[in-house]
């Protein structure tokens, strides 16, 4: 068995299957409306992917990923909103040329921190750097002081609550509870028609695979093993001379940046950003996606996100008044019966059978013994 830096054989197959599924199967079978919904779901897959590294491997449960999702999303939305608020589009306002919500809140000039968002280059940099640096600050403040576990989870929740209140309260600068709506063009290119939605979908899938590769790299590198070691026995890693705090900060920052990329994709695909993605509830939902998919599995998290969101949409369309109970039941069932989520089911039940089937046909699989590699279960 060759173990290159990115993936072993079964993981390679898994990634190829996912690629075929996202690039070929879904676009060919779904209409544009449903495909755009998938694009929306996949924005959460970025967050779930980050949580696999941070929570699944690093053991750091963050209940505030919505913060980073929101920061990324707001950066993107600010750029798009500025472009949509040209003097021409807003001539009905008392002060044309500024976003509509500023006008409603009696602002007469663009606030200084909005100005750089006229530049796409700055925006793209900000999408990665703002949440990254923010995570670095929180991470440093917490992990250097050895705050971890439940306390860390609670603090991330508090941060999510604080940011929501800030956004809602400063509505002249942020759009308040309404959020930023009516985003129209990206550098003059209309993001609303069907062909744009399709293009954005493929762009998003491309970004997702880049993130999957980064996650795979982290997982297979020495770094990934240290993260797992830390999760299992933090003191021992510390006594071996590693700076536990730095590794934790790194994992947290990666998760934050992934979430931010997801948020930016959200603003692009949905044409919308609001504080309802920043708070505690969406942050916990994002953790649930990861839990359903399997927090130890990179691909599982993506399937989990898709499954939960599909269930959410279809249940709410079929039973508009009862769907929340169905969704709740699904979570309880998955967590009680399958603690490792979808990936656990796959690794424990489905994959061994497939392998047995293959093994019975091919009497001697060379260099590859049965059951040594189970996708979803940590290889370590």
């Amino acid at each position: 068995m060759t173990d290159n830096r990115f993936f072993n054989r079964s993981e390679l197959i898994g990634i190829l299957v996912l690629a075929v599924f996202l690039v070929a199967v879904l676009p060919l079978t779904l209409d544009v409306f449903r495909l755009n919904l998938v694009a929306k779901y996949l924005t959460y897959a970025f967050v779930a992917l980050g949580l696999v590294i941070c929570w699944g491997y690093g053991g750091i449960l963050s209940l505030g990923q919505g913060v980073f999702f929101g920061l990324g999303g707001y950066c993107m939305a600010m750029f798009l909103k500025l472009e949509a608020s040209s003097v021409e589009n807003t001539k009905i306002q008392s002060t044309p040329g500024i976003p509509d919500f500023m006008d409603w809140n009696q602002l007469t000039a663009l606030p200084f921190f909005w100005k750089p968002f006229h530049s796409l280059t700055f925006t793209v940099a900000a999408i990665v750097l703002v949440p990254g640096i923010f995570a670095l600050i929180i991470g440093t403040a917490m992990f250097k002081r050895r705050v971890g576990g439940t306390y860390f989870a609670i603090i991330t929740q508090a941060v999510a609550a604080i940011l929501t209140i800030l956004i809602v309260g400063q509505q002249g600068y942020t759009g308040g509870i309404n959020g930023m709506t009516d985003l129209r063009t990206l550098k003059g290119w209309d993001i609303r028609p069907d062909h744009a939605k399709i293009a954005l979908y493929f762009f998003e899938v491309g970004c997702l695979f880049v993130c999957i590769m980064i996650a795979q790299f982290v997982r297979h590198s020495k770094l990934g093993r240290i993260l797992v070691a830390m999760r299992e026995k933090e003191d021992r890693v510390r006594f071996s001379g590693y700076s536990v705090a730095n590794f934790k900060i790194f994992a947290f920052c990666i998760a934050a940046v992934f979430a931010a990329v997801g948020g930016a994709m959200f603003a692009l695909n949905v044409g919308f950003m609001s504080p309802s993605f920043v708070g505690i509830v969406p942050s916990i939902e994002m953790v649930i996606y990861t839990a359903v998919g399997g927090r130890l599995s990179i691909l599982g998290a993506i399937y989990g996100t898709l499954l939960v969101n599909f269930a959410k949409t279809s249940l709410s369309e079929t039973f508009p008044e009862l769907w929340l109970f169905g969704l709740g039941g699904l979570f309880i069932a998955v967590v009680l019966a399958f603690p490792n989520g979808l990936a656990g089911i796959w690794g424990d039940y489905v994959q061994p059978r497939i392998e047995r089937l293959i093994a019975s046909r091919k009497p001697k699989p060379e260099g590859w013994t049965d059951g040594s590699v189970a996708d979803g279960a940590p290889a370590e």
């Binding site: 409603w104 609001s274 949409t313 508009p320």
Partner: protein, 419 residues
Amino acid sequence: MSDETNKGLLSPLRRKLLMGMAAVPAITMLPRTSFAQTPATSAVNTTGLAVTDTEVTVGILHSATGTMAISETGSIEAEKLAIEQINAAGGVLGRKIKFIQEDGASDWPTFAEKAKKLLVNDKVAAIMGCWTSASRKAVLPVVEQYNGMLYYPTFYEGLEQSKNVIYTGQEATQQILAGLNWIAKEKGAKTFFFIGSDYIWPRTSNKIARKHVENVLKGKVVGEEYYPLGNTQFNSVINKIKLTKPDVIFTDVVGGSNVAFYKQLKAAGIDLAKQPLLTISVTEDEIDGIGGENIAGAYACMKYFQSLDNPNNKAFVPAFKKMWGEKTVIGDVTQAAYLGPWLWKLTVEKAGSFDVDKIAAASPGVEFKGAPEGYVRIHENHHLWSKTRVGRAKLDGQFELIYETADLVEPDPFPKGYQ
């Protein structure tokens, strides 16, 4: 065209023939006279909406779950009642209304997603929906992009006008100005204290109210405070009220916060029988939660109260209770939601078509004489002409009508001098 047997007559072939011969009077081809009122689908639906020879589909899009469900349920019920009544009276252009209900789940992006689903997948001819401004702002770009028609029931802040929306509630000036005039005259009020929830509607409403108090009534605003949605601690603002002793407390606190606010006012010894309080955010629905004993004596400025004494309302209230239960109460927004399907029906019949462009163009001037609030007419700006009324809350949770404007008040979503 209500009986099932007629369906068979319109075979696909015949439908094709009808389409091909749109110019020929369709009735001559058909054996039943009931078809006389039913124009051919191809003629009334040129844009591929969900209209068949017997049915037309509309969407209902409100929060059935989440924090807003308590407010939006009344709207859903009113819209379903209106649809049932329209169907019982023969439908729209001879077609029964079928509705598809979607849950916005008190979540603005979900509203946008569901609106898109209704327009793109279900091809609904109109959407009755939204409640909060945030949900409307989320849905607005969708209905504009896919050229849908939205009937929006809630009183709201104004500063908006769209070809694709009919606003069946009042915009801010319609709701506020007449009420302030009345209380200034009646109570000789000069000083006002504003308390609101912290989002766009209270902020804009208070901005308009402040300009009116300062510029028109020559009074003074002695305090203006905002609290986050869902806030339940109002003690500090109540202390300020006691300190400043305003002639009128003017509030636009929304939702569950109201329960805490009025209870704490009462506990602090502020007697609403003596201290005038004018609210633009409490309807019969909210009093259900606040409790009549906590708010009795307060004045509310609305366009509809359940207790209105007119023939339309006397038919509407029992019909609503018969369908949804004796204990239900009907607030201002519920009544405005009831107007949606009716106005749509009347507009479709005026336009002679389900096409959204034709409906948007035909809307101005459409009048609904059967409105429970009395009489309404659609203005060129797609808002409604309606009266402003002031009611006084009673112990039993109902309002007693104290004052109403003599004439319909013109909607003015972009008020000059108030921005």
